[in-house]
């Protein structure tokens, strides 16, 4: 990750000069699938955040985790996550973007559920996966629609010439569902606080600084191109503001410092959504700045909470009684980051907030509405920041002092905090080029960022003052405010809605399964067979009958055919399962004899080996079943079953004859045989097809075999475990 930062800084010169770096590896050309990567200004900003915070979190994690296998697993997953997150922010092909996007969800799932013995961790992980996964699926649909409308799979090209129309509108709504769930926007925000069961480095990295920004990232990409069309701007701004206020109110009610920060993250994500989803040039600049600021201060604060949790053993603010000697570093980091979060000068958070207020000053009739929402949300931020800071910065109470943490444990948060100060004080020289280019790559109309602490007396400064004043008021009146909040906020809200949805889904699934899977094997097989022949038969009735084929070409064929027919018939009337299995094997051996006679040694060999193993597998399974078939009346009577079998037999026979005569083009095998030796260096064309011409198919097939093999072992073990509990397993066998 350090290498990534170094590389990103090294190439930054090119990107900041407005020359995006792009590269592409073609995957499936005809489907337009490729691994296309593109690093522009905004991508660079995201890469620096992802990799930079990643370095800090990794260094921190070395102190946080004791060296156990689980910690090693967590470290591996964090690297996997960092890789996929870089994929998200660098992807130019929307299909690749989706793959990387879902990989981050999967990594998040595994990291939240790292403690798989804890039921709460498991359900939280599932919650996060279901919400972001469902959103991701909707997004995939939306991206495909947009790519189809625009006629290109490249994100940069879609955005350069945005399509319009009803289909595009539907696609945008679906994409929005994707980034709203990912960025924990109202009403999907409940998964983010639940995800706080993960280890603190994980929360700091995934669930505050980077992964939840993926949604913001995508919104920012789409906003300049689509914000003016339809209901995008009102919808995104409303959702963002509601999220910002909800998160702020909820943060004020938390006692767990980590949950407080998580709710604060929800609030800030709403803020970011408003800024980067608006699609106006000034708001985009402010959004880029706030994105950086938030990553810096929130990661710092999470790391601090982790230190406290690790050293003291609790992060409940009611049980923490202040810190004394040895905690200086923690206090400095907290003070700086909290000041940035509350938007106090000279921190980067203040710069970002000023830019945000300025962006909506004079934005039209809706500007003041948005501004009042932002001021309200920021005032809440000031209030919950104070709540957080008061706990950490408090003087120690009486009692034994808590020993301070090791220096290298605190160092990452101090480094991040110093970056917050440096970029705040020297915003113009340090950040202007980066932010300007990032905004310009998002929105060509964007102009020089012009960040800074002092913009003269104006509306933004006044609004900052109002924000701080309101915040102070909230702090001063914290008791009445708490009573009020307790009275008006429902206990769980969105989390309850999620639980109810899941219950409903489970109920629905049970009902459908009860109807579709009634447990009768004969019925299943009859339905499968009849469906299989129904489709080809509809073509068959219109085809020309080519006439009867030659009955037999040699006496050997007659003998084999009789053998197969007799064994097949005997198998249907056999009373013992074992005999039936052996007779089925005889049918298969008969088939391989046919292949021998027809001169297909490869097929014969394969069929022979398969038959042998099948019989062995049958015998293995049969030991678990009674020797004879049941006498119980099956769900389908004998006449019905004979009728189904006869229909299938006739249809297959007719289909074989008709389709063999229906050939219009030359068989592909001629060409394959011709190309086999010169191109693949093999004379056995069957094998060459398998491993070379159709090698990818083979790869897919053996993947299926691997899954089947795992299934076999799982099935065998599960069946064994339940044996004593039930009467004969697979009791509803046929006959």
């Amino acid at each position: 990750m350090l290498l990534t930062v170094v590389y990103a800084v090294w190439r930054a010169g090119d990107v900041l000069a407005g020359r995006p770096i792009s590269t592409s590896v073609v995957w499936v050309d005809r489907l337009g699938l490729s691994v296309a990567l593109r690093l522009d200004g905004f991508g660079l900003l995201m890469v620096l955040v992802v990799a930079g915070i990643g370095v800090a979190v990794m260094a921190y994690g070395a102190c946080y985790f004791s060296p156990t296998p689980r910690a090693a697993r967590t470290a591996g997953l964090l690297v996997l996550f960092a890789g996929s997150m870089l994929g998200v922010v660098l992807a130019d092909n929307v299909a690749f973007l989706y793959v990387a996007w879902e990989l981050t969800s999967v990594a998040s799932f595994l990291l939240i559920g790292a403690d798989h013995e804890d039921a709460e961790a498991r359900s939280s992980a599932l919650h996060a996966l279901l919400v972001t996964g469902a959103g991701g699926l909707a997004m995939l649909g939306g991206l495909v629609i947009l790519a189809d409308q625009a006629g290109t799979w490249l994100l940069s090209e879609i955005l350069a010439a945005p399509p319009s129309g009803t289909a595009t509108g539907v696609g945008l709504v679906l994409v929005a569902a994707g980034f709203m769930t990912k960025s924990a926007q109202f009403p999907f925000h409940a998964w983010l606080p639940a995800a706080m069961v993960a280890a603190t480095p994980v929360s700091a990295y995934l669930h505050s600084a980077t992964m939840v920004k993926a949604g913001i990232y995508l919104a920012a990409r789409f906003a300049p191109a689509f914000a003016a069309s339809g209901g995008w701007r009102p919808a995104v701004i409303t959702i963002g503001l509601v999220t910002m206020l909800t998160g702020g109110f909820r943060a004020l009610r938390q006692h767990d410092l980590k949950l407080l920060l998580a709710m604060g993250t929800v609030s800030q994500l709403g803020f970011l959504m408003v800024l980067l989803g608006t699609g106006s040039a000034a708001a985009t600049v402010a959004g880029c700045t706030l994105l950086l600021a938030h990553a810096l201060f929130k990661a710092t604060l999470f790391l601090v909470v982790g230190v406290i949790d690790h050293e003291v053993g609790t992060r409940d603010r009611r049980q923490l009684s202040g810190f004394g000697r040895g905690w200086g570093g923690v206090k400095i980091a907290t003070a700086v980051a909290a000041a940035s979060m509350a938007g106090l000068p000279p921190m980067l958070g203040f710069v970002a907030k000023e830019a945000a207020f300025e962006a909506f000053t004079g934005a039209g009739w809706w500007g003041p509405l948005v501004l009042s929402g932002l001021v309200g949300g920021s005032a809440l931020t000031v209030a919950y920041t104070a709540r957080f800071a008061a706990t950490v910065l408090a003087r120690p109470a009486a009692g034994p002092p808590v020993p301070g943490p090791a220096g290298r444990f605190v160092a990452p948060s101090l480094v991040l905090a110093s970056l917050t100060v440096a970029t705040g004080i020297a915003a113009a020289p340090l950040l202007d080029p980066l932010v300007t280019q990032a905004a310009a790559d998002l929105d060509p109309r964007a102009h020089e960022a012009g960040l800074g602490l002092w913009h003269g007396l104006g509306v933004p400064l006044a609004l900052s003052g109002v924000t701080l004043g309101l915040g102070a008021l909230l702090i001063a009146a914290r008791r009445p405010v708490q009573y009020l909040l307790a009275a008006i906020t429902p206990a769980r809200g969105a989390a309850d809605a999620y639980a109810a949805t899941i219950r409903l889904l489970n109920l629905l699934a049970r009902r459908t399964a009860g109807i579709a899977q009634n447990g009768s094997l004969p019925v299943y097989i009859a339905i499968i067979l009849l469906t299989t022949i129904a489709v080809p038969s509809s073509v068959l009735v219109r085809a020309n009958w080519p006439g009867w084929p030659v009955v037999a070409e040699s006496p050997a064929q007659v003998v084999i055919a009789v053998l197969i027919a007799v064994s097949a018939f005997a198998a249907t009337v056999a009373r013992r399962r074992f005999s039936a299995a052996l007779l089925l094997g005889a049918v298969g051996y008969g088939m391989s004899l046919v292949f021998v006679v027809q001169g297909a040694p490869d097929l014969a060999l394969t069929q022979f080996a398969i038959e042998t193993l099948t019989v062995v597998a049958f015998v293995l399974v049969l030991r678990f079943l009674p020797a004879e078939f049941h006498r119980r009346r099956p769900a389908l009577g004998v006449p019905v079953r004979v009728a189904v079998s006869a229909t299938v037999a006739v249809a297959v026979f007719a289909f074989a004859i008709v389709s063999a005569a229906a050939r219009q083009a030359d068989p592909i095998s001629d060409e394959l045989i011709e190309r086999s030796l010169p191109e693949a260096g093999g004379r056995n064309v069957v094998n060459v097809v398998l491993v070379d011409f159709r090698g990818l198919d083979t790869l897919g097939e053996i993947s299926v075999l691997v899954v089947a093999g795992l299934g076999v072992v799982a099935l065998g073990r599960v069946g064994r475990r339940q044996r004593p509990a039930r009467r004969p397993p697979l009791g509803r066998e046929e006959q």
Binding site: T606, V616, R623, F624, N687, V691, L699, L705, G709
Partner: protein
């Protein structure tokens, strides 16, 4: 498992011959009848012979490696062979051909497809072993275990 010395000896004889045959099929596959699928199936049949002679313990003793490891490494080998050309800047599964001279045996042409086929072979062997692992334990022992 009650063992019979006649069955044991015959089984060893047959299974070893079958193993050699399966390897022959794997290597000859590119030019003559055979290949990874068939070779792996024959090797699976050889395992079946061991199963008949000595039950699941005998299969485990012969295979030594756990079946899921065989299965997984087969898939990794095949996928790796398929993807390696991409890393080297060619198309997926692009083959390559070299001729090697083995002392005393003569020359042979080796293609990268052989590695792919070996992966297929391992998957088939692993699958056969998985079936024995899944359903191969004697019912009596299971009753005691559960």
């Amino acid at each position: 498992v009650r063992r019979s010395i006649v069955v044991d000896t015959t089984a060893r004889l047959i299974s070893q011959t079958a193993m050699v045959l399966s390897l022959y099929l794997l290597f000859a596959g590119h030019n003559q009848p055979g290949g990874g699928f068939v070779g792996g199936l024959v090797a699976g049949a050889a395992l079946a012979v061991h199963y008949v002679a000595g039950g699941i313990d005998d299969v485990r003793a012969v295979l030594r490696i756990r079946p899921w490891i065989v299965l997984g490494s087969g898939l990794v080998l095949a996928a790796g062979t398929a993807l390696a050309p991409v890393v080297l800047g060619a198309a997926v599964l692009e083959g390559n051909l070299t001729t090697v001279t083995v002392p005393a045996l003569g020359t042979a042409k080796i293609t990268t497809a052989l590695a792919f086929d070996a992966g297929v072979y391992a998957v088939m062997v692993g699958l056969a072993a998985m079936i024995f692992e899944g359903f191969g334990e004697p019912p009596a022992r299971e009753a005691g275990r559960s």
